[in-house]
């Protein structure tokens, strides 16, 4: 293991590692966090930047992250955040309740929840919490599996933490926004979001990673991490959306762990941006867990959108469902990798994984690979994937009713998308997607 910068890949020098090293020695940080940051820095130095030879990264062209002309500045060093603006569409059913920018909660209109014991805070406010639950939680997910995870850990300076106490049911959705600061610098932002549902609780949370800069002249690299823990007999409905510009590059890693008799319905919409890779790992660590993933990826122009998902059935009698759809247009590339893992002894596991892809041009790529890895013998697992252009016989049916090919394709794309949106238990979710569908129709 080489820990020296002497032999380091020169591209890694584009990262603001000095600031991470300074943090890792800061007196203000608890030891457990300093250790995580230090481990992250070491992992950055040690782990290769993935390339076409790295199996799980072979489709991704990471050139945009490592342009030799771009030296990244970490968001924590920015003095002026600029004004955060919201797209009008977010006011409809997704009005921001909490806005987190760069280590600060700049809006929180959910103070009434504190009377129920709901704790909404920054990570730094809980650095020294007794009981060390964060220490425990972060240790669970500490090991960096690849370079981008190492970046998140090396720059884990702060984050947003929401903890729902036991036996609390929150009926109204909590809408959280992680906007990109309105700045014109090459910013590396590393937002962390930690969500904990203690036993016998319920919540509905939507999280929006948006880039609404008015003048997006410089690129931003968002390296986001989400940790979700769903306690015994707790139920979470979760929606994450990602949107940006031609200069928004995103990597997001979500790790969710479900205790016994709990459930998660995880929904995600990858709507826009030059590059996005979303990794989701759900672990069913108790019996009778239920995990459902629904989502949509869109890629147009020369954009790249990739999801890597895995659901691990680690205990018996768990159920999982994946229903994912992807659309590629122009020279866009949409990649789907999904895996169901059934551990030895996880008998009576029940899993269905389905991917459907729509290719709207000859040069667009929609690439899907559903996988099963099964080490138990009494299970029910199915998977399937289909990819293709809008079926010609369907387009003809529209035409025979007076609707031309262009409008037929629009209606078919809309129908294709609605098929997955109807599974997403957040009302008016279509409003979030419509502006992007407009681009797909053009």
């Amino acid at each position: 293991m080489s820990n020296t910068l002497l032999h380091i890949d020169s591209r890694k020098k584009l990262l603001p590692l000095e600031i991470a090293k300074r943090y890792s020695n800061s007196e203000l940080l608890p030891d457990w966090l300093k250790k995580i940051i230090k481990d992250g820095i070491l992992a950055i130095e040690d782990l290769p930047i993935p390339d076409a030879k790295t199996e799980s990264w072979r489709e991704a062209n990471l050139g945009c992250f490592f342009n030799p002309k771009i030296e990244w500045i970490h968001s924590s060093t920015l003095k002026d955040m600029g004004e955060v603006k919201f797209h009008h569409l977010y006011s409809n059913n997704f009005e921001p309740n909490i806005v987190y920018v760069n280590g600060k909660i700049v809006r929180n209109n959910l103070n009434y929840l504190s009377s129920k014991g709901v704790n909404i805070s920054t990570l730094s406010e809980r650095y020294f919490d007794e009981g060390g639950f964060l220490d425990y939680l972060l240790n669970e997910f500490r090991e960096s599996r690849h370079f981008f995870e190492a970046v998140s850990r090396a720059f884990l300076f702060d984050g947003l933490v929401i903890e729902i106490p036991p036996n609390i049911v929150i009926d109204t959705p909590i809408n959280i926004y992680f906007p990109v600061p309105e700045v014109n610098s090459n910013v590396l932002d590393t937002p962390w979001f930690i969500l904990i549902l203690n036993a016998n609780s319920q919540a509905k949370v939507s999280v929006h990673y948006i880039d609404n800069r008015e003048n997006p002249s410089s690129p931003v690299w968002i390296n986001a991490s989400e940790l979700i823990k769903v306690g015994a007999n707790s139920h979470l409905k979760y929606l994450s959306t990602y949107s940006g510009y031609a200069k928004t590059y995103r990597f997001v890693s979500t790790n969710a762990q479900l205790d016994k008799d709990s459930s998660i319905i995880y929904n995600s919409l990858l709507l826009d941006g030059k590059f996005i890779r979303s990794e989701l790992n759900v672990e069913l660590v108790g019996e009778n867990g239920y995990a459902e993933i629904n989502g949509l990826s869109l890629s147009e122009k020369v954009n790249y959108s990739e999801v890597q998902q895995s659901i691990g059935h680690l205990k018996p009698n768990c159920t999982s469902r994946i229903n994912w759809r992807g659309i590629g247009k122009d020279e866009g590339k949409t990649v789907y990798r999904g895996k169901i893992y059934i551990a030895p002894g996880a008998q009576k596991s029940d899993s269905i994984q389905l991917f459907k892809g729509l290719c709207l041009s000859d040069r667009a790529i929609v690439d899907a690979k559903p996988q099963l890895e099964i080490y138990a013998d009494d299970v029910r697992c199915t998977h399937g994937a289909t990819v293709g252009p809008p079926p010609q016989e369907l387009v003809f049916y529209f035409q025979a009713r007076g609707i031309d090919k262009i409008r037929a394709r629009k209606l078919l794309v809309s129908a294709f998308v609605k098929q997955v949106l109807k599974e997403i238990p957040f009302s008016n979710v279509i409003k979030l997607v419509e502006p992007y569908l407009g681009k797909i129709y053009e």
């Binding site: 079926p391 010609q392 016989e393 369907l394 003809f396 049916y397 529209f398 035409q399 025979a400 009713r401 007076g402 609707i403 031309d404 090919k405 409008r407 209606l411 078919l412 809309s414 129908a415 294709f416 998308v417 609605k418 098929q419 109807k422």
Partner: protein, 254 residues
């Protein structure tokens, strides 16, 4: 001027000649039936009238609609001019409701005629009334087009579409196949309600059964890509009694 006049229509698919020179004239107010055994080219004729580009229309073929050649028109242009084909195998469109689909269709047709679009709410009411009339649950208006519909429901849905779009020429391609007797009756009633001196029908069927309810003015027998016999309703009865074999023998001796 005829509503539809087909002359010497020759059609291939993947270089195989299917229709070998069909001539047919349908005037307003007339109901024509085309019968014939499997593989005779009945559905090909319906698809070519609809404008399916997968079929190659050979040079020398003519198809005039109200005096104008329509062979160069796209399927949507033909529909906008008032041609409707009820499909033998209606497709399913998951995610798009019958209401949205037909509302789009009628407004595209209206737009092509310079008419203002119909309001969705008014249209919904009209659609549900038509559905009820034709024996389709009005709640199906909100359901995806044909998704999860039984065979009979799909066919009824085609008739609902026809009743909504009010074509001048309606081609029904084996609309009776797969229907039980009640469904057959309600489909036939739907068609009969639309019979008028301003509209022509071409009813393609395998059996006489449907024609007992939709009495055609003319019956043509299509065999091996040609119309081998034409007559009135009595021909349909004769075919039902004798089957198609006698025609095959007749053609062989010609």
């Amino acid at each position: 001027m005829s509503l539809l006049e087909i002359k010497n229509l020759r059609v291939s698919i993947q270089n195989k000649l299917i229709l070998k020179g069909i001539s047919l004239k349908i005037d307003k107010g007339e109901v024509h039936a085309i019968m014939g055994p499997n593989g005779s080219g009945k559905s090909t004729l319906a698809q070519v009238i609809a404008g399916n580009e997968n079929y190659q229309v050979e040079p020398g073929s003519e198809m005039m609609y109200k005096g104008e050649s329509i062979l160069d028109l796209s399927p949507e242009e033909r529909a906008q001019k008032g041609i409707f084909v009820a499909f033998q195998y209606p497709v399913e469109i998951p995610g798009l409701s019958n209401l949205e689909f037909l509302h789009s269709a009628i407004n595209e047709i209206r737009k092509s005629r310079g008419e203002s679009p119909l309001d969705l709410w008014d249209f919904e009411k009209a659609l549900k009334e038509k559905m009820e009339e034709i024996g389709l649950d009005p709640n199906f208006a909100e359901r995806s087009v044909n998704e999860g519909f039984s065979g009979g429901e799909k066919k009824r849905n085609e008739i609902v579409q026809m009743a909504i779009l009010q074509p001048e020429l309606a081609v029904l391609d084996e609309t009776d196949s797969g229907l039980d007797i009640d469904a057959l009756k309600s489909v036939a009633e739907g068609v009969n309600r639309m019979r008028s001196s301003e509209r022509g029908f071409l009813v393609i069927t395998h059996y006489q059964r449907l024609l007992n309810y939709i009495k055609p003015d003319f019956v043509h027998v299509l065999y091996n890509g040609r119309i081998v016999k034409s007559g009135d309703f009595k021909l349909a009865v004769e075919l039902e009694q004798k089957g198609y074999d006698w025609l095959k023998q007749e053609e062989a001796t010609v």
